[in-house]
């Protein structure tokens, strides 16, 4: 239970960054932290104490952790990579237009 709460605290750190920060780069990093906490939460769901990784190695059979969330999180990491690249590209375009990363100064249509 403590681990889940810590995971939620990590999510709140990301949420704080998205809401309170003005720098676009910091916002993108905060979105990344939120994604990491979601991934960590899914992996923690699948975790079993004393179990091994779900890969065939030829060793004797012992309990293994659930492989389904791991496959899901692998996909999630790839998608997160894509969204981060998109966010950074948008930030670059905004900097080219407005000359700043400060979202409180990006207010009016320009150019």
């Amino acid at each position: 239970m403590t681990l889940y709460l810590l995971c939620f605290a990590l999510f709140l750190v990301g949420l704080y960054g998205v809401i309170a920060k003005r720098d676009l780069i910091k916002i993108i990093l905060a979105v990344g932290i939120m994604g990491y906490s979601a991934n960590l939460f899914l992996i923690l769901f699948a975790y079993k104490n004393g179990a091994i990784f779900p890969i065939l190695t030829g060793a004797e059979s012992v309990p293994m952790v659930d492989p389904l969330p791991q496959a899901l999180v692998l996909t999630s990491i790839v998608i997160e990579l894509g969204t981060t690249a998109l966010l950074v590209a948008l930030a670059v375009r905004l900097f080219q237009k407005y000359g700043t990363f400060d979202i409180s100064k990006i207010r009016r249509l320009r150019g």
């Binding site: 030829g58 692998l74 790839v78 990579l81 690249a85 670059v92 900097f95 080219q96 000359g99 150019g111």
Partner: protein, 148 residues
Amino acid sequence: MTNSGMTVIVKTVTRITVWMILLYGFYIILHGHLTPGGGFGGGVIIALAFLNVLLAYGRQRTQEWLNIHLLEHIESLSALLFVLVGILGMVIGGAFLANFLSQGELFHIISAGTIPILNIIIGFKVAMSLFLVVWMLAGAKMSKGDTV
């Protein structure tokens, strides 16, 4: 930011380690059907090796060392090859991505049918696209008032 790269210490270390990182990436890709890892993980490691060179030596030297157009072609070609393997499975095995090679013996390098081939293709795709994304973003002109 005049694309001249970092200090001589960073350059020397990069010159030695980039080949080790590339070798490790290929190891992860080739053992993808036996150990944790696979096409995506190994591809990311290969892309990071290239990014190491880009950070240490700067844009100009990297462009001389790597053929960026060739990397773009490899990226596009690997997606095509993946579909080709899938359609080959459809023709021979009856379903998309069906296995049509010998499954071999368990825990051998050459085993598991088409999975190692697909791992290699995915590895190249991930490596090239990840490197090219950062390459394009790093090449964007960021001087203030550039396009305004």
